[in-house]
Structures are given as structure tokens and as C-alpha cells.
């Protein structure tokens, strides 16, 4: 069975991310378009949360706000983590750098010493199982491998940032597997869960794929579209077999309901 959560998860102790009453509109005056209208969301340290919604629900906008790539029009975003690691739909590797140099780039930007940089880069490539491909350039890698390099690079940007002080990590992912073929996506979903378990980082994962959300997440948050708002949340941790299928059905039905509301307007 799936447990439906009403409102925010009030019982959480401490949080990695807390959004309260976040609004975001683009443009000014009459032409202003509200992308997000009052989003409240808490993510606990180490939690895996999937943001689900149709196009135009502001998933990406929300992620950009958490990543500090954009500022909210109103409301507050509170992070207790180190700088969030961000992964996009495209790997967006620097084409002039090798895979290893791409992973090393955030460490270089942070002024980490050379020896430490090399060691850390090696560890991260090992983590995404690409130790042998460090010398290759992005164009010599497959789409799945590029996305893993991007993951390693994102993790490199997150984990070192505070000197010595250990803070919880946060990984923000914007439909990172949606451009990959089905087989690769399937393998990478398993990889992500493995890496999440190994690193204990909190993950906010944006997707429009209900199955993916249920399979990966501990919690699925459904957003409505134009403007984006939290409609409903489900705890989907550790579901398997028939329970998982049921959860996908329930969430899918609700998602369709939300989408069909737009037909009238």
C-alpha cells in the first residue's frame, strides 16, 4: 500500500533543504507568468525525493532556485548542506577537457591542491566505474558514460567545499536520464541508487516519468502546472512487486487528473 502524506512532512527532524512559500514569476507587470506559486517542501538529509509533473509545472525552475542559479520572487529557501551538486539533462561536459579533467574542474575552481585533486578525481571515477576512461574526451564516450562523468563532476563540486567540516551533501538532478536509451537508463537508475546509498547524499530528482520516480525515490512529490504547486505526496520507499505497480497506477491517475484540469482553461 502507498501511504499518502497530507501537507508537509511535519515529523522530520532537521532538514537538508526547506522551501517555504516559494513564488517565482518571470517577466513583469501584465506579462508576468507565475511559474511557481507557494511551494512548501522539506527534504531530509540523505533523503531521495522525486519531483514529478507534466511540462510547465516549474520542476526545472524549482531546481534552479535550489541550485541558486535563480532567485525566488518571494518565499524562502534554506539549505543546510554544502553547495549542491547539479546534474542536467545533457551531460554538458567541457568538450576540450578529458573525462578526468572535467571531474577535476570543480576541485581546481575551489583551489584544491594538485595531489589531492588527482586522488579525489580517481576516487570519483572509480565510484561511477569509469576508472579506465579518464583519459578520453567527451566525444569518445557513450551517452551513458558522459552522464556518469557528469555525475562524478557534480559530486566533486559538492563534497569538498567546506574545509574539514562535514556537512550533508545534496544532489540536484534535472531529468538526467531522459535523453538516454531505455537499456542505459535502466542501468544508470540502478547505479544512481547504489551511489546514493554509498554516499548518503540527499537527492532531489526531477522527472516526468512516474515509473522512474517510484522506482528511485523514497518520496514522490507531484506538482501541478502553471503555476507549479505541490499537489500531493506519496511515500514510496522500499515498494516492490505489486505494491510498486499499484503506486505507479495511483500516481499516474492523479497526474492525469491534474493535467486534464488544463483542458478546460
Amino acid at each position: 500500500m502507498t501511504a499518502t502524506l497530507e501537507g508537509s512532512t511535519a515529523e522530520t527532524t532537521g532538514h537538508a533543504v526547506r522551501l517555504s512559500g516559494v513564488h517565482k514569476s518571470f517577466g513583469t507587470g501584465r506579462d508576468a507568468v507565475a511559474a511557481l506559486a507557494g511551494v512548501d517542501l522539506d527534504v531530509s538529509p540523505g533523503e531521495f525525493v522525486c519531483l514529478l509533473g507534466a511540462s510547465g509545472c516549474g520542476k526545472t525552475t524549482l531546481l534552479n532556485l535550489i541550485a541558486n542559479l535563480d532567485q525566488p520572487s518571494a518565499g524562502e529557501i534554506e539549505l543546510t548542506t554544502s553547495r549542491p551538486a547539479v546534474m542536467f539533462q545533457e551531460a554538458a561536459l567541457m568538450p576540450w577537457l578529458t573525462a578526468a579533467a572535467n571531474v577535476e574542474l570543480p576541485l581546481k575552481l575551489a583551489g584544491v591542491a594538485r595531489g589531492e585533486r588527482k586522488a579525489r578525481t580517481g576516487e570519483l571515477l572509480e565510484l561511477v566505474r569509469l576508472s579506465g576512461a579518464g583519459h578520453k574526451r567527451p566525444h569518445e564516450l557513450s551517452g551513458g558514460m558522459r552522464q556518469r562523468v557528469a555525475l562524478a563532476r557534480a559530486l566533486a563540486s559538492a563534497t569538498h567545499s567546506e574545509n574539514g567540516e562535514q556537512r550533508p551533501a545534496l544532489l540536484l538532478m534535472d531529468e538526467p536520464f531522459s535523453a538516454l536509451d531505455a537499456i542505459t537508463r535502466d542501468v544508470l537508475q540502478d547505479e544512481l541508487v547504489r551511489i546514493w546509498e554509498a554516499t548518503g547524499t540527499a537527492v532531489v530528482f526531477v522527472t516526468h516519468d512516474v515509473r522512474e520516480a517510484v522506482r528511485l525515490g523514497q518520496r514522490v512529490v507531484l506538482l501541478s502546472s502553471r503555476p507549479g504547486k505541490v499537489v500531493q505526496q506519496w511515500r514510496v520507499d522500499g515498494l516492490a512487486g505489486q505494491d510498486e505497480i499499484n503506486a505507479v497506477d495511483v500516481i499516474n491517475r492523479r497526474l492525469r487528473e491534474v493535467i486534464s484540469n488544463h483542458a478546460a482553461a
Binding site: R137, E140, M145, V187
Partner: protein, 295 residues
Amino acid sequence: MPQREGATAEPDAATVEAGLDALDTPVAAAQRVSGRRRFTRTVLPPVGFLVLVVAVWQALWAAAFWPEYQLPAPLTVGTELWNLFTGGDAFGFVWTSVHRAVLGFAIAILIATPLGLLVAKVRLVRAGIGPFLSGLQSLPSVAWVPAAVLWFGVEPAAMYVVLLLGSVPSIANGLVAGIDQIPPILPRVGKVLGAGRLATARHILLPAALPGYLAGLKQGWAFSWRSLMAAEIIATSPLLGKGLGAYLDDGRFLNDMSTVISAIVLILLVGVGIELVVFRPLERAVLRARGLGSL
């Protein structure tokens, strides 16, 4: 024998992934082409064309359609060129022109690079001088020669002014195009990786714009060389020393067509030579490292 389900152990995730990587990795398409193959493909065709041109020329000369002073025999021009090289004059002419062109080109890079950065990154500057910068590219630099001579006299300064007016716009425009073509995701990635403004320029914008910048430099060199030749042909004076342009003008003055053709051949040789020796390998290395270009 029919396979039973579960008869083989399920492969672990790492093995599956390694298999997938092996299957999906783009196959290195271009094998190293052998030296001889490359020779027959890239060197022979242009040489063949050149031989054809000379043959047609020889035939036209033999048919005597035009008087000798309009169309000399290929051999006459060949002898003129041979004497130029053996007598050492060719090196003097080439050196006079090339050192000017290289110096002017270096100055053009120093001016055009910050200018291009400003135009690319500052909206007001782009709106203000962007259109003029592109417009200047379509103005033949010969048009500046009279003005430069009136301002600076028949002096080296006039030559450099013409050269700069020809090459600065194309280098700056190349850099602007290079920066405009950077996928917007790259600076965003830079930001989430923790790059500030300066670090973004140094580690992301400049390397990302390099192919466009290089294309601009290549074009800028061609424009430098052309502008300089235009200036040398029009503004001649003993004070300026004798470059290739002045040598060409000598030919006109003396009604000596073989000198004119020799000068044109030398001008072409320098232009093509610098492109082949300097810019082609640079461009190739940069593009190949990024998996671009088929060369």
C-alpha cells in the same frame, strides 16, 4: 537442449555496465591514413590542376593570341622567378612585406581581442559598435589607402593603419561569433561548479570560444596580408623599402608582365604558406581534440 530459466548466474551490475560501455562507445572511425595514400589524395590533385593551368597557358602563348607583353611564356616567368630566388632578391621582398604583415597582425590581435570581448559581453557596446564592426568587414581595405596616405604620408604608419583597419574587424568578429556560439549550458555548469566571473572567463568562456577565435585569426591574417598588399601597390616610395607590392607595381610601370606574374605568385605563396604552416595545424589540433571536423 532447451535452456532452463535461471540456469546461469545473473551477471552483476558492473559487468552489465562494462558491456554496455563497450557496445555504446563511439568507434574511432578514421584510421590513420598512410602517408602515400594521403599524398595521392591531398597533394596530387592541386599539383595536377597547376600542371593543367600551365599547359593551357603554354598553348595560348604558342597560339600567339596576345602580344608577348600581355602574355609571356611560362618559361620566361619561370626564369624570372628562378633569378629572383638565386639572386636573393625574392627573400628581400618577402621579408620586407612579411615582417610588416606579422608585426601588424600581432598589433591587430592585441587590439581586436579585448574589443571582441567587450562587444560580446557588454550589451551597450554591442548595440553601439557591433553593426559598424561587421560593416567594416565588407569595406575593401584599399579604400583606406588614400585616407591613410593623406593622414600619415607615404610612411610605414600608413601601411599599418590600412592593415589594422582590414584585420581588426575580422578578428574581433571571429571572437564575438565564437563566444555567441558557446552553448548556454556551459556557463551555467560553470556557475554550479563554483566558478566566479573571472574563473568562468578563464576556464569556460575562453576555451569554449577558441574554435571561433581561431577562425577569426585565420581570416584576420588573410585580411592583413591583402590590405598590406593593397597599400604597398598604391603607396610606393623608396623610403618604404621594396616589398612584394612595390615589386608588383614595378612590373606594371616597366610593362613587364613576367615581373607582374612572378610577384603575384610570390604573394600567393606567402599567403597560402602561412595558412598551411601556421593556421591549418593549429585549427586541426583544436578541432580534433573536441571531436569536431573531419580533417
